[in-house]
Structure formats: C-alpha cells, structure tokens
Symmetry: C2
Subunit: 240 residues, 2 copies
Amino acid sequence: MSHEFQGRFLGVLGGMGPMAGAAFMARLIALTPAPSEQLHIPAILWNDPRVPDRPAGYTKHGPDPYPWMLNGIRLLERSGAMAIAIPCNTAHLWYERLAAATDLPVLHIVQAVIDDLHRQGIHSGRIGLMGTAVTLKLRLYQNALQEQGYECITPADDEMATSCIPSIMHVKANRLDEAYAPASDCVRLLQKQGADAVVFGCTELPLAIPHALRAQLDVPITDSIDALALAAIQWYQSGI
Amino acid sequence: MSHEFQGRFLGVLGGMGPMAGAAFMARLIALTPAPSEQLHIPAILWNDPRVPDRPAGYTKHGPDPYPWMLNGIRLLERSGAMAIAIPCNTAHLWYERLAAATDLPVLHIVQAVIDDLHRQGIHSGRIGLMGTAVTLKLRLYQNALQEQGYECITPADDEMATSCIPSIMHVKANRLDEAYAPASDCVRLLQKQGADAVVFGCTELPLAIPHALRAQLDVPITDSIDALALAAIQWYQSGI
C-alpha cells in the first residue's frame, strides 16, 4: 500500500445482523465531529450475514459462528484495520477467544455501554437490560455492571417472549415498523420495575426504537450501537 | 480462504461521502427480499472518506481522487468481491478508467437510475436532474437519458447555488435537518418547469429528503442510492 493511503483505519466485523452493521457505520459518521467529509474516520465494514445465528450456536443448537467471525477478523487484519469493533452484543460471548486470536485491539461493547452510562451521568442505580435471551442468561452485561456498582434487572421469561424477542425478530426480518411496539413495551416493563436507565443490549434494538421516538419513553437509554460508535471515535482520536 | 466462506460477495467503494456509503448498505439490506438474516447479500464496504473532493479533482482545482478510488478497488478485489458498486455519482465521471482497471464488473449508477425509471413505468417525458454542478455540467446523466428518449432539465446556475448545492453541503457536514428545505425547493423548481420525475443524481440527496417525506413532493423520485442497491440485488440474484 502506498504511503499516502496509510493511517488509522477502523475494522468493523458486521453482518450480525447486516442492518446492525450498516446502522453502526451510519451512527459512527453521525457521531463523529468532523468539519469536512475527508476528516471522518476511515473504516471498512465486513458485512457477511451468513455467520450462523449466535444464540443457537452458543447453546449448541446450531452451527458454530466462531470460524465465520474469525474469517472476518482475518480479512480486516489483511485490509489494514488497526482496531476492531463488533456491532453485535451476542457475538461478545466469544470476545475472549476473538481478542486472543488477533494482535489488534478489539473494542468491547459492554465496556462501551458502561462508558456511555458514565457519560450520561448515571454512575449507580438500577439498570434495565434488554437483549437476546442468551446474552441475558449468560450475564454478559450483569457481571460487568455489578462490578461497577449498578443493580441489574431483566425482563421475566414471559416478558421476553412477548416483548424483547419479537422486537429483535422483527428487525432481523426487516419489519422495522412492527418492531417498535414490543420494544417499547419492554422498556415500560423495566421502567415499572424501577429502572433508572435502560440498555439496548442487542444491536437490533436501536433500530426498533429510532432516536426520534426515545424522548417519549421518559427514561435514559444507552444504545449499544451508539456506545460502540463513541468508543470507536475515542479510539481513533486517542491515536494509540 | 476456506471453501465454506466462498460465494458471491459485493464490493462497495464508499467513503464518497462516508454517509452515502453507510446509507447504501442500509438500503441494500432494506430492499433485499430475504426471509432470514443469513440470506442477505454478503458485502464489504470500503469507506475511506479521505478520497479528495471529486468535483474539485475533476476540474483540476484540487488533488486527484482517482488513485484513492483505485486503491479501494484493489482492496475490494483482494477481499473477494465479485462485483463493485460505487455509491457516488460524481465518481462515475471516472467510470471508464475504473472499469478498465479491474476485471470485476462495475455497476453503473446512471444505468441503475434508468432501470429504476423503467421499473416505475416512466419510459419517456421530462426528467428533472439534481446533482453536483460538475455532474450536471459534464452531462453524466443527460447523454444517457436522451439516448433513451427522455428530455432532461436541470436547475439554472442561480437555482443550483440556492437549493441543490447547499442541500448537498449540509448532508456532507452532517446537518441532515437543514438539508431538507433547500433540497425540496429544488424539487419544486424542477416540477414547475414540468418535470415528470426527478432524479436524485447525487448520493447525498436521498439523505436530504428521507423516504417518509417523499410522498408530499407529489412527483415520482428516482433515488440513485436505491437504484444502485436494486442493481446490486439484481446482480446478486442473476448468479452471473
């Protein structure tokens, strides 16, 4: 690669789902304070949607997605990426294996969410978690949040089945209009249980409840796509 | 690359601007009729926003963007892309050079727009064109549309300066809210001159006038991002 093309490049392991990958790119650009087009963050998005379903793979009910994720990371390495962001929460169940398999820094979506809670001035209290069933069952968020002094609440199994899961499935099937009602039901259920803030801990959920409709929810939201984009911007600006 | 990872892959030469690249990916997914996440189109987006300004470069008032575009195409080739889409209209002023420099098929955004006009049942009549000044001056669209029997109209220089150009600049500076008014002014100016349809011939313009606000414009729109996404889906489904 010629010298002039070198520089900091973000690698994005997307495809999980493909719309979350595209949404991450859009939010990365929207949240970057760049006075001109050329000053945005150079980035490459590997958006291979064929990665097998993560919840099914983790629970051994389906094919293993790990080789597909590793294939994406290898491609990003060869393309000159200098850090990796993975806009999929459930994929972070493989975080340790993926991070050990590459010399590049891999941003952690849960750390990004915690940083975003701090950025919003939320340093303690009860955090309502939304995400895939396996993400919540395996405590991807709970352990890290509790270490930071937060209390966590999650929807009950029947609430997951009627609100959180259908909204994720609607987004994955490109039915964004139908995703809002069950997703907002879930936010309200968590609010009723005293949530001081709600984490969209699945990258499909920010698409179910667009930014323009969040003010009416009347509870602070931390959106894992935005949080990861802000972490990527911080990585880029840090220069290390 | 292991056999299981092979298959048709779309390469997207983005970054021009970066938001147009992200928007193309989102529309590619939204317009793909896929019953499950895994059946979406595998794609890689090279979103390097450092490509020098295309209008300035083409008129020799700024650095040459061509080496940057070629660098992106080489990366996409090495990544396994089997066709290339370029979600930037002005970049198509270099189409012949880029297409000659690679063995991969390169989709042409103007052909995609003509196909979309046909898809909408618009086979003749007066087409209002919006785009960068250099795209319109160099007749990127006019020659191809006139060959197909369409008549073309473009905004006058003073209309460009107060409507079309400011709306593109607002999008490039991430001020999407401010982009709508001048963009919709331009659509109305073209309507008054008898446009039977209006082409958003710059990939910033679809972001200035979101889909939800188009019905009120009361004239058929062909959006070059959507048209190129539909061409990419057709390439993918054709299997050739």
